[in-house]
């Protein structure tokens, strides 16, 4: 089987040292600030990142994923769903995706806001956040249904 070997381009400095500290589920606010420290060899690739307000961070659920589980019960619902319909860490590839705000850059240190990663999390890539889909065009499946059930209670 073909596989792909990925290496960290940097690491997260986060106040979170335990997954229990990370707000989860519907309406969880991720306002926490931290630093993404890029490896020295990749610093020159950062030219002009400071012009963008938001980035996608693609990272690894490091020491946090228990391997692939096909169906999971998310914190926002009491019913199981396929892992690909959730953001659960128990994915075939333990890849996380977070949108962060870029507050500033000092050399190869990016100050970012909106963290939901643990301290020491390896980062595989960052990409500028260029456009949004209109919220009214989104269908949110089980997530919207679970929200509606909670609202009725």
């Amino acid at each position: 089987m073909t596989t792909f070997n990925m290496r960290p381009i940097g690491f997260i400095h986060s106040p979170y040292t335990d997954t229990k500290q990370i707000p989860k589920g519907s309406g969880a606010k991720h306002e926490v600030e931290g630093v993404l420290e890029i490896e020295p060899e990749f610093e020159s690739g950062l030219m002009d990142v400071e012009g963008f307000s938001h980035f996608y961070v693609i990272w690894v659920f490091h020491n946090r994923s228990d391997g692939y589980v096909d169906r999971v019960s998310p914190p926002t619902d009491d019913r199981p769903h396929g892992v690909f319909a959730t953001r659960s860490p128990t994915r075939p590839n333990p890849i996380g995706l977070t949108v962060v705000e870029l507050l500033g850059r000092e050399g190869r240190k990016l100050r970012i806001k909106g963290l939901d990663m643990l301290d020491g999390t390896p980062v595989l890539d960052i990409k500028p956040y260029m456009s949004s889909l209109p919220p009214e065009s989104l269908k949110l499946g089980w997530y919207a249904e679970a929200q509606a059930r909670r609202d009725k209670k």
Copy 2:
């Protein structure tokens, strides 16, 4: 150095067989439809994906990336920028990220719209697209500046 080994969860069936066919740059519309065929072992993880209208697809620039180049000139600008301020394939890890619309599901085949990948592209993960940032909150750096220069011409 710690590295991470990733395996395909599926592959893209796309009408694009050459990168020259893929619309690039500012205002490029990605309206093309295709199929993401998930590997049989992961089919049960797809439960309930059909409730969501849009997904992030995390994929590999397969046979398409020439390795890491720290500064690149994107098709939308005549000036070079750091690769992390662009979506260029010449990243340390050849990871692509695309938002697609889910048109339908037949078993482990997901019909999707908005492709910008080549036929045969390996996919590492999909995640439901749950929320958008308000467009007025986005700063778009060199991209907005290049657009303004073009608009002046």
